[in-house]
Amino acid sequence: MSDPVEIIQTPIRLEYNYTPGVARSRFLNGLAEGRILGERCERCHKVYVGGGSGACARDGIPMTEVVELPHVGTVTTFCVVNVPFAGSTVEIPYTTAAILLDGADIPLTALLQEVPAADVRMGMRVEAVWAPEDERGPTSDSIRYWRPTGEPDAPIDDVLKRMRADA
């Protein structure tokens, strides 16, 4: 009789088909066309972008008014990442930032490049860097990353105050 079994490995493989849903599909299809599409809630008038669930989380209603957003925004906060994760192709350290697009009320999270981590600041103005047209598709990778526009920083206190304003 060999040693008692104390640990077993039980691999689990389950396959799932994901449905992004109507709102997220609209956002991703917009990216394929080189456009950033958000939506405005008819009740609180906030503009959402990033293709969430399609609900205005404050009011619990679907948002149907589509709003096209410019490809520039302000860094509202950020962090420098030194931890690699499985499947990542980005060199570490890299910077991720919350970017409030001009006209949006909720930031989207994205990768910053073409700027040393030490130079990233809250209030920095950034623009999207798109994949070449023939490489775009209904995926967040259509925007490769965001880089500084070179404009003077936005007044961060004002930006954050507006972003946190209650409806």
Binding site: A57, R58, C79, A86, P93, M163
Partner: protein
């Protein structure tokens, strides 16, 4: 509403991987200790309320089904709560309601995570189609908000390090704590690798296997246990949506509202003055000053000063996390209940080497998700 007492408390030795126990063994280690402390047997329990975080942490769907036998729940009501990271706390709250409602008199509540079974970093954020994955680990999510706190509060850089040291020093006095770093020091933390700026490696919680259990009873059974009962003086939960425009993730409204509710129930008008200690969910060092403000212990922008002045140390005026907190042990599903249980242990005089002298009124706090789910309770050595 019926008075609710805590008469038994138990927890496991938390560790990176409890390879000596199955999942059932892990929950039983905590549950049997709680029953023993309560001077009760499995047959005395009328209902079981279980909590844990996402099932991907163990690779078992709805594991309470598998654990029905191990938890002595056969023939009884068994409920499983899942509210993300706050779950340990909200589970205790649900268990308390089972008694406060008058429906049950003796309830066993258990929260656990055996996250070594699967891959915790993956389970927290697997790659889901159509959703970008930018950062690994919870730290990547919270670091930007911590940065905003530091800016708003004009806090000096070293505050996070002070918390990390304090909690590990406390952890050395807790025989159940996972992390034991005898040579923990300011320099050691400051020199540890920066993971998600401004969070360093030693400012992060570990990934732990662990479980916590409590026996809650009606007043009729409050004197049953080996130790004096702790009394529930208030429980509250609040949630706010994750992706809502206008949210403040640094000082969330749900946290402030939850605290206001539980303080009102417990007759607390001056938290800083009336509460003797708090066990607060701090998975990354900077959450201590942030939660001190969110919980009304300090005015906005000044929470870091309490840390800096040593007020939150074990021998300070308002000890925070005398157990070593989440920074010392983090079995995710159990961590919230550990905060609630440790608060109760303190007011029962049961905390051994990390006992706060004269602890009579304590706060247990848990949060989860993107700082959106909150669960809190106030416990006292005094019967309401």
């Amino acid at each position: 509403m019926e008075r609710t007492a805590i008469v038994g408390i138990g927890q496991t030795k938390h560790d990176t991987a409890r390879e000596d126990l199955s999942i059932a063994g892990l929950v039983r280690e905590a549950a049997t200790r709680a029953l023993d402390d309560a001077n009760m047997g499995w047959a005395d329990i009328e209902a079981v309320v279980v909590g844990k975080a996402p099932d991907m942490f163990e690779g078992v769907m709805m594991p309470e089904l598998y654990l029905a036998d191990a938890l002595g729940a056969v023939g009884k009501p068994l409920l499983r709560v899942h509210t993300a990271g706050s779950v340990g706390g909200s589970t205790a709250v649900v268990a308390a309601h089972h008694v406060a409602s008058g429906l049950y008199e003796r309830v066993l509540t258990v929260a656990f995570e055996k996250q070594s079974e699967s891959n915790a970093m993956w389970a927290l954020a697997p790659k889901i189609p159509f959703q970008p994955t930018l950062v690994a680990g919870a730290g990547g999510y919270f670091a930007p908000h911590i940065r905003e706190y530091i800016r708003r509060a004009k806090a000096p850089d070293h505050i996070g390090i002070e918390v990390a040291v304090k909690d590990r020093v406390n952890g050395m006095r807790n025989p159940y704590a996972h992390l034991r770093i005898p040579d923990i020091s300011f320099e050691k933390v400051a020199e540890s690798p920066m993971l998600w700026d401004p969070i360093r490696f030693l400012e992060c919680c570990p990934s732990s296997d662990g479980a916590c259990a409590m026996v809650l009873t009606s007043e009729r059974y409050a004197a049953t246990g080996k130790n004096p009962a702790a009394w529930v003086r208030g429980t509250a939960v609040r949630s706010e949506p994750l992706g809502m425009a206008g949210r403040d993730e640094v000082n969330p409204c749900a946290g402030r509202d939850c605290a206001a509710d539980v303080y009102a129930q417990a007759g607390i008008t001056d938290p800083r003055g009336q509460i003797d200690l708090a066990e607060v969910y701090v998975p990354f060092s900077w959450f201590e000053p942030m939660w001190l403000e969110n919980l009304g212990f300090a005015d906005e922008g000044t929470g870091w000063q309490l840390t800096d002045k040593g007020v939150t140390a074990l021998d300070g005026d308002l000890p925070i996390n005398p157990s070593g907190g989440v920074l010392s042990s983090n079995p995710i599903g159990a961590s919230g209940m550990l905060r609630f249980a440790e608060a109760a242990m303190q007011v029962r005089g049961q905390a051994g080497e990390h006992q706060v002298d004269g602890a009579h009124l304590a706060l247990g706090h848990a949060y989860g998700g993107g700082s959106q789910f909150f669960a809190m309770w106030i416990v006292s050595s005094e019967r309401p």
